[in-house]
Amino acid sequence: MDFDYTDDQEQLRDAVRRWVDKGYGFERRMGIARAGGFSKEAWGELAELGLTALTISPDAGGMGFGPVESMVVMEELGRGLVLEPFAAVALVATDLLQQGHAPSAALWLQGIAEGKERVVLAHQERAARYRLNHVTTRAENVGGNWVISGAKSVVPAGAHAGAFIVPARVGGADDDAQGIALFLVSRGEAGVTLRGYSTQDGACAAELKLDKAAGIELIGPADGHAALERAQDIGIAAACAEAVGAMDKLVAITVEYMNTRKQFGVPISSFQALRHRIADVKMQLELARSMSFFATLKLGAPAAERRRALSQAKVQLGQSMRFVGQQAIQLHGGIGVTMEYAAGHYFKRLTMLEMSFGDTMHHLGEVSARMQDTAGVFA
């Protein structure tokens, strides 16, 4: 039982933080957001730092790091509100690609490791809400080849991806957990239509339409739903860590503002009602940090235990994100709601993170459904 980082992990953190502080300042970020929310150059810099290869196994040309290192990186990217889809590509998609049996997966992994390619999971469907089992996209085997038809929404940085991992149904009804396979679909295939757009946090996403598009089976229907759950949980852990980084920075910004801004002749940090508010903010931040650790350290647990833990974490993080974000704006007053000031951007990103991979209500439902007689970290 130990929550210290190793020296390697601290070096990794320092390297990412240095890049964020020096290379990804507010002005650059705003420029990237205005230009559509994705920068190839910035992505290249992440690759140069070795980050795109972070969780790819050494055999496949990667660094072979695990959840803790992923958390370290995500916290720093969160601190800098980095727009590029690092978690989607280098944590979630790489895990699925490495689990899968598609021969072309290795090539995509190599491309990701080198910073040349991006692959993302495209799983959100209309009316699915946050249920992974709701898949209406269908895959048909036509003469030994899979063709896929359906629509996927809000695919992270979809317009900048070379391929998509697409859950599609090979059998069963729309809501069955059985019968879902995961396919690799290249953006260049016939029948693939992409429509990109900006997102509220300054990043970007896309609508993906598949009309009999050719796909390669990555994970078969026996394991598809379980793989999706695992991908979601990796995404949750990444969102938790990113949120901790973002909140940590936002609290620092707010504290500095409170100690600087004067009203009635004194810094507003001298008002007890605001002091107690920041104490409550700090509480939520530390609970969130604790549960981000929990999320990361449970990623390797057996599926049922992992699933329960990750939902517990997402509930805490969702509540913390909302409270910290809203209170940071409130403590700033008017300046907090302007586009030119950083706080609002943290708030918007935190808002989106709450809704990514299932919102607080959804995961409270999961926790409720998965409760056991005992409770606690080791239950």
């Binding site: 209309r126 809000v154 605001l274």
Partner: protein, 392 residues
Amino acid sequence: MDLNFTPEQQAFREEVREWVGANLPKELSHKVHNALRLNKADLQGWARTLGRKGWHGWAWPKQFGGPGWDAIQRHLFEEECALAGAPRIIPFGPVMVAPVIMAFGNPEQQKRFLPGIMSGEVWWSQGYSEPGSGSDLASLKCRAERKGDFYIVNGQKTWTTLGQHGDWIFCLVRTSTEGKPQTGISFLLIDMKSPGITVRPIITMDGEHEVNEVWFDNVEVPADQLIGEENKGWTYAKHLLAHERTNIADVNRAKRELERLKRIAKAEGVYEDARFRDQIAQVEVDIVALEMMVLRVLSAEQSGKQALDVAALLKIRGSEIQQRYSELMMLAAGPYSTPFIEEAMEAGWQGDHVGAAYCAPLAGTYFNMRKTTIYGGSNEVQRNIVSQVVLG
């Protein structure tokens, strides 16, 4: 004790409803019911329509050309407008500066300014806040120096809502630095076309241009545009605040928006989800309780038998409820609220919506609503006021 309106009040409500139904353009109410963008023509068009009926100054007494309605009639008018999907009446003219002109302006000023406000022709803005003075409004620094028949104004105002459309602006300016900060403030009416005025947009985090900075660089203001006496502006502004309580809780809009929340929740399939639905039920209870508190205030105003000092409570609760329903609308759409597609927030856009058309403005509205607990006296300031009333 009676919860029901009198037959006369009901008839009045019907009259308003009928008139609004006949005069509010369908395209406009469609925009309001779906939180689509409103432009200047939308807002001023409705103001002029009301003006022609003599209702743009709906809270005005008859002597100044208003309808002379009592508190309950005003409430019913506001409710019918809100539920029908009329845009909010921009308050700076008819609600904010007009009562000050009526109470403290001279007959010439009343004659000069009030008709343009009532008709909706003249767009007024508010010049109170400054970068350094938020909750501490009395610390304002924008100077006005008397030189002959003019005041020379220098300084900056900020958070000027829709000031980009403004014809006139009413300002609190510093005319003296002696004594307490409150004592050296004057109330000036300023033509926004005056040389030396610059309006700069402030873009808020939802990407919208709703507020502005207004800069004054040696702006000459004729001295007959001073309201009342020099250095007494703070008193006038406080009078205004004391009377600017109409609809502070915004409960009628809340009722309309709760209906929208239910429509969205149904369309997104979460109305049948017990967990989500409980959240809506909670807002419903909150809104009924808020409305009952508003009705208590109206009854007290009407009868004069009780003194109910709950304006600060109405502001706190009303703003919290606005924030909550906008949050729930966004959460109902979930991932489909996350795209930021500006065109999708314009009425009549023919492009493909991500999710459904109603999803487009939801996150932006949620972001925008954060202002409601900050402006108009932050909720922290309101709690100070309440505690003063309770604890003495």
